[in-house]
Point group: C2
Chain length 513, copies 2
């Protein structure tokens, strides 16, 4: 093959990742810059011969079968080198940033199953690293790098409580290993995004935004909820080259909007989409590891009722208040409280609550209507690392605020979600109505109208800039914008054929679930 | 909610699984019948107080994060009770078939994330079992069932080499446990499909067939291969309610057709679709655990060249020869040899090979052009269990035949794939050309034309009947049928909007990969 023609996926002269000419080409400089930043951050506290060693992911089989989940790369490893293949490791000499990727030595018959086996030099060119060797050469290569100490990854993910798996290889017992220095330093590096990382995040957020707009334009009563999931996944893959979504798609309609993680295996978006209900769609694509996380809430039929408008605008006002206030130096905990305050004030104006908003906040009303945190760091993980590092404020204990995935002070270069929500969760309302302190703020008769409402969440992906906050999300947000967008459904030509064909129409006596 | 209205997903009067009115409703009798068959098969060899205990699957996180792969249920557990939720177990008293499902006892605050928590009686109605209890009640319930011996699952999957995980619970040490009896018996039960299981398999094979036909009708040069994967997944989900595919989609075009497991993370269907190339698309949907597995091969531009027709017809003739010969009492190994023989004879007629076909077979030419087995059992696993049980013929050792996933004699009620193929794998051809025994059959000049051809595979899902074999697959198979089907692409109205919109067109100097 001639090297002068364009080639897919980073084998042209300029190494980079791409899913074709209509998708973003990610230069390998992204990872070189990540490595440089990590080395600079580590240098003051490690000896001259320190070498970082990370292990990439392996196939995960379905139970004991020979079929695996579609492969997802481990995020720390991805951040350091962007290698797509399974079974690899990467070493990084802190002194000078020399990077060595280790690939498995596969038997030649694997070519029948996996395609022509690449030589180390091909991987070296593909990923633009200084050196590539086979995994069985790790001890010798580490020797040749003058390794006096290996830095491996050991730390707890504060969202899952799980501990990451430290790199390992045959012969590691011959090396001095430090597994405490690396985790907080690399996690902090991941918190602040580089311009090259931001370009990927902007791309995946844009593609995900377009898919949400497609759903607004194409949803019709009589569909099943999962048909929206299918259309979202199809759009981001077809148009954006995103093979994966960043988390299980949440496609709530109606009362299911009050189930925060709807879409799981026990409730797999399998209900009917009914006229008059609200949608709460929380979906985000993934491109080369980088995650989007967007929620849009809108009425199935394209016209807000007065009650829908009331709840929607209360949440939107909270979202916009945070968007205006978020900037370097501001505490994320204060942003959560701000969102709660604005939303509760709006619910009071709307006649659902009564009394003093400060007292409501003290009584924990915020967590009755929004039982989750305001938002979270976003990057290679949708709930990105670095939320509760030892140097940062610990997890708050008061209801609602305790759900925050970080209590940090904002810094330029952070990317977060801003996702206030208002939900009518039956058991939380029952508890609040029975609580002598909380119940006095509740207007029982008015709340009765909302028992089956579900919920509204408005989730944007934002970048903290030097002076404020930039919204990367590109979807209609005001009631008027949403209604105008959904109006264009009437132009039949814009309706994607695969959606209209799929909505066979539910029987007239069909209950959504 | 009134029980008189239709409800989604098996909560109406007749319990069953469905993804909406346009999808198949699977009655819970399917699992009752599976349980009955297992009890009958076990009864002669176990004591009166024997109780089968199986453990269902749990969420599998991405590494140490709090995000999980989309949940897939474990297949033995699925076969026994069809329970969709994570973290469950099931007990089956062999004497009388009494079935108890154990569900996790979740804290009430989980309702915020998971939705209203179901009471045991709701699960009992949903899955039509005799009893439902919480997981923490297992020891007491087993006592009340009069358990004298627990039968747990221990055995090796002969495709993966992995061992299945035996059920376990706090207090199991108080029970006598036998982990050797169950595995071969339940595996053999799974090999023979019931009429109720066949209905699900027919459904998922039909939906997958329709998606393959859609691709024939909509593919255009200039697309990326993964856009075909996206369209397939979208179709089976939108129109069939199939959230999952049964294995990673294989969307080869051109020379990539010679890579049997193309589509993996290192080669994720990321090349351009070029005019003049062949497609080899191997994809199958999954409905309620049951798998389809279909391969279609056809030219991107809808017209076979003479060379494409030659290879295609050689493979088709092999496929049809097996389809005619397969019936109860016939050895699958003989079917593999039959396919090889027919195909090599055709390649000889076509001028690619020369000499005596019997001698070619002895020289191992079959495995040069088809380095995989003829086909495999199909069911809840795409490579279904029961291929090499202790009572059955062991794995053959000769090249090619050794790749068979079963060497069994066919029986009525088995479902298998018939998937002969012909590939031009560079390193296999180089080896064969260098081999004094094999090379004398090869017409070097003719083969030269096929070096970049890729491959052809024709894979059908079939049921062994009392008298022969029924093809469940519903796709055009002859050259004429395929060309006629693809001709209808010219009627623009039939082109799905999401595909035409996605094909932005590759630059003229674009190389496919």
């Amino acid at each position: 093959m001639s090297s002068s023609v364009a080639r897919c996926n980073g084998e042209a002269a300029q190494p980079g990742y791409s899913m074709g000419p209509h998708t973003l080409k990610v230069p390998m400089e992204l990872f070189a810059l990540n490595r440089q930043r990590l080395c600079e951050a580590l240098r003051p506290s490690v000896p001259d011969g320190a070498v970082v060693l990370l292990q990439g992911g392996d196939d995960v089989p379905f139970y004991c079968t020979d079929i695996s989940y579609e492969f997802r790369q481990e995020s720390f490893f991805q951040w350091l080198c962007g290698v797509q293949e399974q079974g690899c490791l990467v070493a990084l000499r802190v002194r000078d940033g020399r990077c060595v990727v280790f690939v498995p030595r596969l038997p030649s018959e694997y070519a029948v199953w996996m395609g022509r086996l690449r030589a180390p030099d091909e991987f070296k060119a593909k990923y633009a690293v200084e050196q590539v060797n086979y995994v069985d050469e790790i001890p010798a290569v580490l020797q040749s790098l003058g390794t006096t100490e290996l830095l491996t990854l050991h730390g707890t993910n504060t969202d899952s409580g799980l501990t990451c798996k430290a790199a390992s290889f045959d012969g590691i017992d011959k090396f001095k290993v430090d597994n405490s220095i690396l985790h907080p330093v690399i996690s902090e590096c991941r918190v602040i995004k580089t311009p090259l990382e931001l370009e990927v995040l902007r791309y995946v957020v844009r593609v995900s935004s377009e898919a949400h707009v497609l759903l607004m334009r194409s949803i019709v009563p009589g569909m099943m909820e999962y048909q929206c999931e299918a259309a979202f996944k199809n759009y981001v893959y077809q148009h954006g080259g995103c093979r994966h979504v960043s988390y299980t798609c949440i496609c709530c309609t109606g009362e299911r909007g009050a189930t925060l993680h709807y879409g799981h295996a026990g409730a797999p978006n399998d209900c009917g989409v009914m006229d008059g209900a609200m949608c709460l769609f929380d979906m985000g694509a993934n491109y080369y590891g980088y995650a989007a996380d967007i929620t849009c809430s809108f009425p199935v039929n394209g016209k807000f009722t007065a009650d829908q408008r009331l709840i929607y605008n209360a949440v939107l006002k909270a979202n916009l208040a945070v968007m205006s206030a978020a900037k370097p130096g501001v505490s994320w905990v204060d942003m959560h409280r701000l969102a709660n305050r604005v939303m509760l004030a709006e619910l009071t104006t709307g006649g659902l609550l009564k009394g003093d908003v400060d007292e409501m906040l003290k009584a924990g009303l915020g967590a009755v209507f929004q039982p989750h945190g305001l938002g979270h760091l976003l990057g290679l993980d949708v709930h990105d690392v670095g939320g509760y590092l030892a140097k940062d404020p610990p997890r708050p204990t008061e209801p609602g605020v305790s759900k925050l995935r970080t209590a940090r002070t904002l810094k330029a270069g952070m990317v977060l979600t801003i996702e206030p929500g208002c939900y009518f969760v039956e058991h939380l309302l029952v508890e609040a109505l029975a609580d002598p302190v909380q119940s006095k703020f509740l207007v029982r008769e008015a709340l009765e109208r909302f028992r089956d409402f579900g919920g509204v969440r408005i989730e944007d992906d934002v970048l903290i800039t030097e002076t404020g906050c930039e919204n990367l999300t590109l979807v209609p947000r005001t009631v008027e914008e949403i209604e105008a967008t959904m109006q264009s459904r009437d132009e039949g030509a814009k309706l994607p054929a695969h959606i209209t064909k799929a909505s066979h129409g539910l029987p007239s006596n069909w209950h959504p679930c």
